[in-house]
């Protein structure tokens, strides 16, 4: 009780006298950064997950060729989950005499559970979101379908035995898929109308799906339940099976945001360590006096720990509130810029995480110096030069290391990455400390060649060598992580931009008859668009590998492998290697190879079947058996949305086989009418609209980029707090030195120049270390972890060095200004 009373009394008095301002500020800003990142990451991750879920139109999708059992829906309802059903079948839709093969999708109320339906009042027009599903007797056909059969809103379409009226035009549905599986245009209808069509008969090919959505934990539980209870032939898909582009974006964003929040936590720790150092320094006399007056070590430690605990509580509450407000403000500001759906509400978790982390960081970084503080002998009341005995290294740094490792583990949760980052950090700090010592030593040697102010400033660095190295490590780390974030962010952004350039092809055209090929290209060009490249598309099946029939050789293989081996493939032949293809093994064919039965394989196909150069593949193409040899392996960039094939033949082999052509093209927005014309002019050509899919991917990437940038701002703030804490830690010494110098006759301007020289040197050296460190770390993280390309850039290095010098000099000057300005007499008398 005694300790609590004294701790609170001292705390409130010291707070009023401004003693604790910097410590509390450092902790508060750090917690604000941490919780702000936590809230933001949490909400944006949830939004990203929702966006990814929307590709399935649900969180979980259970598909089957048989109707989905009622028991699943009952279980979902019991667990408080939302559900809906879809049934899809291919059928021909008529408008009078005009007909079109259509993918009929009958849906129940609630569809889609995730994502949204976009509809319009005319084909190919921009879509607007719509609530609900078509009412009974109504249908929403896709643009291509309506254009092909010459209908419009109000037209009555014959579907099987039923006649249903068009009330809207379907522009996109979330689960339309990113593959060519669904080439036929869609039509959405109410499930209640399906029996009337009489299309579902025994033996009909109908795909049924149960859609489920809800809170994440409940969904995870339900997924586990479904995995146990589902029948053979029922296929479960969730966000992890969603389209690969979206999944990659979520993974990349998650990894990067983890890294960024880890950086904020570490900066927080540095700031706390510095503030604690100052706290200890300022409380040596008090502790010595308390001991003289009869306080035991345990009592003085209790007083200090209680004070810090109270500070942690205040900082956690204020910081978390600030963090919440900051992210709320940020999200509100940016909501207008992005076509984002409503962000999910924040969870209370970051508050708890903020508090626990604040206490953990204090325990790791503030407790050891506090324990050291308690070792100051009472004798100090008589002899000011007596300090605590030298710290026990393990006690001084052990808790900090432990907390850092725990924090890294908490953020990363990956054994390999944890080991790499942990070892990397240790090596980094050691190298930084070594480099810092060397640079301080070098600066000290060079100081004889500069003017008096510079000599004074640099002398300060050399004289407080240990402190200078600590500050160099701190500033170096701070600037380095900011720089690292900047470099990686640029890499990420530019890689994403490279992945999705703005004029990416947005329409695929398939089934172009050879006779209409040239007409089609001319027509597209006349509409102001350019086709990417036009490739033949021939159906065929791989029947044997090196003479072994595929059924025998591949039985019992993995699902994907089995699929590759047994399913019908799209084949092409071409003379030129696509610009988005890179040969990784073998050679692309030359003119001399024309007519030779050679194939080139995409790495995905080659790896999944374990094929090698020179292997013999046998294909069944339209009943004809063709023996081929693998001549090359290609790495294909699929996300360019250009026509590409797993299997490409050399020219002169497949020309005689009947096939069609495919291509892709970019159409500017507002070309609805021209596309309708195209659909009408070439009715057999399938138009595949990937604009909406791309928009989905872009929306996900936008959110990821937004989160990255916001985290960057928080980290910057945390870095500035470190700077302030560092400068504050040497404030008392500076006040005294400044007073002494001025008493000895130095002009104020000389003292100012000295301070500036010291901080400029410190900042430049920190920047130098940071630039080198950040470049190395960026290389590693970009190439190994984020799996992107890395290009060394000089500009961030220069920015790091100049920025470091400027930041530390201006921060240092602002923080020491009052020290320099204080009349010397007041300082010396105090």
């Amino acid at each position: 009780m005694k300790a609590v009373r004294l701790a609170l009394r001292l705390l409130s008095r010291e707070w009023r006298s401004g003693e604790l301002g910097v410590l509390l500020l450092a902790l508060t800003v750090a917690v604000a950064a941490l919780t702000g990142v936590g809230f933001l990451v949490g909400r944006i991750s949830a939004a990203v997950a929702l966006e990814a879920s929307s590709v399935l139109a649900a969180d979980i999708r259970l598909g089957s060729t048989r109707p989905i059992a009622e028991a699943y829906f009952a279980e979902a309802e019991r667990r408080g989950l939302k559900s809906a059903r879809t049934s899809s079948t291919l059928s021909v839709v008529f408008n009078g005499d005009a007909s079109q093969l259509t993918n009929l999708v009958a849906v129940t109320a609630g569809y889609p559970l995730r994502g949204r339906l976009l509809t319009a009042v005319e084909p190919f027009a921009p879509g607007t979101p719509v609530q609900g599903i078509p009412g009974p007797g109504e249908v929403w056909p896709a643009s291509k379908l309506l254009a092909a059969v010459g209908g419009k809103v109000g037209t009555e379409l014959s579907i099987g035995a039923a006649t249903l009226r068009v009330t809207r035009v379907l522009i996109s549905r979330p689960d339309q898929g990113g593959t060519f599986a669904e080439l036929a245009p869609s039509l959405i209808m109410n499930a209640a109308d399906l029996p009337a069509t009489q299309l579902v008969q025994p033996g009909s090919r109908v795909s049924y799906a149960g859609l489920f959505a809800g809170e994440r934990p409940a969904i995870e539980d339900f997924k586990a339940w479904l995995t146990d209870h589902k029948q053979p032939g029922e296929r479960l898909r969730d966000i992890t099976d969603a389209s690969p582009q979206v999944r990659n974006a979520v993974e990349r964003a998650g990894r990067f945001l983890s890294l960024a929040s880890l950086v904020s936590v570490l900066l927080c720790a540095i700031a706390v360590a510095m503030a604690a150092r100052r706290y200890v320094h300022r409380h040596l006399d008090t502790v010595a006096l308390l001991k003289t007056l009869g306080a035991t070590r345990g009592f003085t430690l209790a007083v200090a720990v209680l004070q810090l605990l109270a500070l942690a509580l205040i900082a956690a509450l204020v910081g978390a509130a600030l963090g919440f407000l900051a992210q709320e403000w940020l999200l509100r500001t940016i909501r207008g810029l992005l076509a984002v759906t409503e962000l999910p509400p924040p969870s209370a978790m970051p508050f708890a995480v903020g508090l626990v982390t604040a206490i953990a960081v204090l325990a790791g970084f503030a407790l050891p110096p506090l324990i050291q503080l308690q070792r100051v002998p009472a004798l100090r009341v008589l002899r000011r030069d007596v300090g605590p005995p030298p710290p026990i290294v393990l006690l001084a740094f052990g808790p900090a290391v432990l907390v850092v490792l725990l924090l890294i583990w908490w953020v990363v949760r990956d054994r390999h990455l944890f080991l790499y980052l942990g070892a990397g950090l240790a090596a980094f700090l050691a190298i930084l400390a070594f480099a810092g010592s060397a640079l301080v030593l070098l600066a000290g040697r060079l100081r004889g060649r500069v003017g008096v102010a510079w000599r004074y400033g640099v002398a300060n660095l050399s004289r407080r060598r240990a402190e200078s190295v600590v500050q160099l490590v701190a500033f170096g780390t701070g600037i380095m992580v900011l720089l690292l974030l900047g470099i990686i962010r640029d890499d990420l952004n530019s890689d994403w931009r490279r992945t999705l350039p703005p004029n990416l092809p947005n329409y695929f055209f398939i089934n172009i008859p050879p006779a209409e090929r040239d007409d089609f290209i001319h027509f597209v060009e006349a509409l102001g668009a350019r086709t990417t490249r036009v490739l033949p598309m021939i159906r065929g099946r791989l029947t044997a590998i090196n003479g072994r029939p595929i059924e025998e050789g591949r039985r019992g293989g993995r699902g994907e492998e089995e699929g590759f081996a047994t399913r019908e493939q799209n084949l092409t032949w071409t003379t030129e290697l696509g610009p988005d293809n890179r040969i990784v093994a073998g050679h692309w064919w030359t003119e001399a190879d024309a007519g030779k039965p050679l194939v080139s394989l995409a790495t995905e196909f080659q790896e999944s079947l374990g094929l090698r150069l020179g292997d013999h593949l046998t294909f069944d193409i339209g009943g004809e058996t063709i023996e081929t040899t693998v001549a090359s392996i290609r790495k294909v960039k699929w996300d360019t949305f250009r026509p590409n094939f797993f299997i490409e033949f050399a020219p002169g082999v497949l020309e005689h086989v009947a096939g069609t052509y495919m291509t892709s093209a970019y159409f500017t927005p507002g070309t609805a009418r021209t596309l309708a014309e195209l659909a009408h002019r070439f009715p057999s050509v399938s138009i595949f609209d990937i604009d909406e899919l791309l928009n989905q991917v872009r929306a996900v990437l936008d959110k990821a980029a937004l989160a990255v940038q916001s985290v960057f701002v928080f980290t910057l703030l945390a870095g500035l707090t470190v700077l302030l804490a560092a400068v504050q830690s040497s404030r008392d010494e500076r006040r005294y030195e400044s007073a002494m110098l001025r008493t000895l006759g130095a002009r104020r301007s000389t003292v100012v120049q000295g301070v500036l020289a010291e901080f400029l040197t410190l900042g430049t050296l920190s920047g130098l270390i940071a630039a080198a460190g950040a470049s190395l770390a960026a290389y590693y993280l970009t190439t190994r972890w984020l799996e992107l390309r890395y290009t060394f850039e000089l500009v961030p290095c220069i920015v790091g060095i100049a920025g470091g010098a400027l930041l530390v000099a201006s921060g240092g000057w602002l923080a020491t200004r009052s020290v320099v300005n204080q009349p010397p007499l007041r300082t010396l008398r105090a």
């Binding site: 006298s17 003289t292 009869g294």
Partner: protein, 235 residues
């Protein structure tokens, strides 16, 4: 080592001698080798006696005071405070003994800047677990003439006033021994004289044993006995 005074740590029960040093030495290591600061000092101070320790700078006065008060440990020899051998107590044991039996006045006052005058005086009472800390502290502050300054912080008080707060803090626990290290060293002559006056006045009324380290001849002259130190020894 025991953290509490026990019968085994008591010397022969000579309670007239409240403070006793036996062959007390203190050596420290320096670049030139071991340096003897206090050299085989033996002394005995009776209850209620006032003793001045005088001598030139560097003679070892403050170190002797630190050893006698249990703020530092001797290299050899022992210190008996009311019969308790300080050298057989650990740091916390010595702290507890100080809380109960020892008071201090320092040259640079050593008030806690974050606490008011009243709170500074309350501090040793609170550390000793006294329930009437506030009342006793207020009374003692009134006795040193600072009744109206109880709510002031050290920085709001003059040097003389700060030292009076420190004297109040030293006497508030009614210590058996009061150690004063150059109590007037940071004050001007007039203020120093007034503070000295107060110190002896309180000492007389409380029957406290006073051990005073000082350069001030007048102050030393007011003590019943003066020990002169030279090169670590009592001359």
């Amino acid at each position: 080592m025991s953290s509490n005074p026990t019968p085994s740590t008591h010397a022969q029960a000579n309670f007239d001698s409240v403070l006793k040093a036996e062959n007390l030495s203190k050596q420290v290591s320096s670049p030139e080798g071991a340096l003897t600061i206090v050299d085989d000092v033996s002394l005995s101070i009776a209850r209620g006696e006032s003793v001045a320790v005088a001598g030139p700078s560097g003679a070892g006065k403050s170190t002797l005071l630190a050893l006698l008060a249990g703020l530092d440990t001797p290299t050899s020899g022992r210190v008996l405070l009311e019969g308790t051998d300080l050298t057989r107590l650990d740091e916390d044991g010595r702290a507890r003994l100080r809380a109960e039996r020892v008071g201090f006045v320092f040259q640079s006052f050593h008030l806690i800047p974050a606490l008011t005058a009243l709170e500074n005086v309350m501090l040793p009472l609170e550390l000793a677990g006294r329930a009437d800390a506030r009342r006793a502290a207020a009374e003692t502050l009134a006795r040193v003439g600072l009744k109206d300054r109880t709510g002031h912080y050290p920085r709001q008080l003059s040097g003389g006033e700060q030292q009076r707060v420190a004297i109040a803090r030293a006497f508030v626990t009614a210590p058996a021994v009061l150690f004063a290290d150059e109590p007037t060293g940071n004050l001007d002559t007039a203020t120093g004289a007034r503070v000295g006056e107060l110190l002896f006045e309180l000492n007389a009324s409380a029957h406290t044993t006073l051990v005073l380290v000082t350069h001030d001849r007048e102050l030393a002259a007011r003590c019943a006995r003066t020990l002169r130190m030279e090169a670590g020894r009592i001359a």
